[in-house]
């Protein structure tokens, strides 16, 4: 066993101020979990790769803010990840602040990484589960979800195509998404 494996996350983060390999060990522990988190939530390995890079760069930059509670630092790391995801969805682009601060080069995503990230996030299973959940929706609700989410149409247009009010269209989409979310719960 590598001596670093007996060290806690907090010890590794603290040691990384003078020993960057300690941060490497910290990365080894959590990289797959963070990447999988992003793949499942974005459905896009490219976006997930970008977000994973920014999350770990941000974790290194702000490592002194980590408070050691004795628990693994994954919760802290996923807190950073959620923040990065929220910002990316709002701004429609991934932040690069932490990567720029560390002067990191952008890494291209090769085909093998793309395929493996999809596997890591179990995207194939996720897509199948969503298709099955969509198939279980009533036709009106399924069409509303399809027009709004897959077609990216505004609610007014969804309502016009369904021949209903905009409010009714919103209700159908919400109902459909809730049903899909429920079916994806483990």
């Amino acid at each position: 066993m590598h001596p670093d494996e007996s060290r806690t996350d907090a010890e590794l983060l603290k040691a990384s101020a003078h020993d960057v390999e300690a941060f490497g060990r910290f990365y080894d522990r959590h990289a797959a979990a963070v990447a999988a988190f992003f793949v499942r939530r974005t459905g896009c390995p490219h976006l997930a790769a970008d977000l994973t890079a920014e999350t770990f760069a941000a974790a290194f930059v702000s490592r002194r803010r980590y408070r050691d509670t004795g628990a693994p630092a994954l919760a802290w790391l996923l807190g950073i990840a959620r923040h990065q995801l929220g910002t990316a969805l709002r701004q429609e682009q991934v932040e690069q602040r932490a990567r720029r601060r560390l002067g990191l080069e952008r890494i291209e995503l090769d085909d093998r990484s793309l395929a493996r990230l999809e596997e890591l996030g179990e995207l194939a299973e996720l897509r199948l589960a969503i298709e099955e959940a969509l198939a279980r929706l009533t036709p009106g609700v399924a069409e509303a979800v399809s027009l709004r989410v897959l077609g990216d149409l505004p609610y007014a247009e969804v309502a016009r195509r369904l021949g209903c009010s905009e409010g009714a269209a919103r209700v159908r989409v919400a109902r459909g998404l809730n049903a899909i979310a429920d079916s994806l719960e483990p």
Binding site: A17, G24, R29, A49, T52, G103, E105
Partner: protein, 285 residues
């Protein structure tokens, strides 16, 4: 304890290498900043020792002490303004939505003549008179001012405050890509050094000052209050050549201007000439 799933994903292994390279660079930068901060603290120690009458650089020291003394001497020179120069400062000041420019040139040798431009006002001290320039009439008004002036170099002032313990280095940060020391100063009689001053970690020259103003005479109908930010666009020591010495002279800057002797203000209670405090002191930034 390790999750090894990322090892067969080339992107994630490449990201690990890149992160570690960036982390190493960041650590090296941080160590340099810490070193700079410690040097500043050393400078305080030097000045403090000098105040107490010690001689850190005395003879008869061992080899190690000589090496230390060389470092200390280097630090001391870094924070000691050079002599025989023209100090040039240029700032942009903002306070409560107001913004104005300030530019100042002063000789480092007696009688410390200077020229200053503050907003629309341009004035100079020649060594015996205070002069103001009126661009509307292209006239320089001169008024005798026998009060001696001081060499007003913020770096010298900061060194003095650090030595007295009236200023402390509280950390490091970056402004416009420059590594700076963050210094909090509490000077009872100096407007610039009552707040937070950011100085370059290498040259110790000011980059930014943030000062809380409570009733600043900004030239408006009522005094301004709030946080004044003084951003230094230039802070340099110019060699005292014929060209640079012209920078401290109103006559040299406005060669076609007529010079008129302004009537000295009169103290109505005694009938004697009074020295106007504002005219005899350098307008502050």
């Amino acid at each position: 304890m390790n999750d090894t799933r990322h090892l067969d994903i080339p992107y994630l292994t490449a990201l690990r290498e890149e992160l570690l390279r960036g982390a190493a660079r960041s650590n090296r930068r941080r160590r340099r900043m810490l070193l700079a901060s410690r040097i500043a603290v050393l400078a305080v120690a030097i000045a403090g020792a000098a105040t107490a009458g010690f001689s850190l650089l005395g003879g008869g020291a061992s080899g190690t002490q000589n090496a230390d003394a060389a470092v200390l001497q280097h630090v001391r020179l870094a924070v000691t303004p050079p002599a025989g120069v023209v100090l040039h400062e240029k700032t942009i000041n903002t306070l409560g939505g107001l913004q104005w420019g300030y530019e100042f040139w002063q000789r480092s040798d007696p009688p410390y003549s200077y020229r200053v431009i503050k907003g629309p006002t341009e004035a100079a001290f020649t060594g015996s008179t205070i002069e103001t320039y009126d661009p509307a009439t292209n006239t320089i008004s001169a008024q005798p001012d026998p009060q001696p002036k001081l060499y007003d170099d913020p770096v010298a002032k900061l060194r003095e405050l650090l030595a007295k313990g009236d200023a402390q280095v509280i950390g490091t940060t970056t402004i416009d890509g420059r590594d700076v020391l963050k210094i909090v100063a509490h000077s009872s009689n100096d407007m610039l050094f009552n707040g937070t001053i950011y100085v370059d970690t290498k040259s110790y020259r000011p980059v930014l000052a943030e000062i809380q103003q409570n009733a600043y005479d900004c030239g408006h109908s009522s005094p301004c209050s709030g946080l004044e930010r003084i951003r230094f666009l230039a802070y340099e020591y110019l060699p005292a050549t014929a060209d640079t010495l012209r920078l401290v002279s109103l006559e040299a800057q406005h060669p076609g201007a007529s010079v008129a002797a302004a009537p000295a203000p009169t103290d109505t209670s005694t009938g004697q000439t009074a020295t106007t405090p504002q005219a005899s002191s350098k307008p502050t930034g």
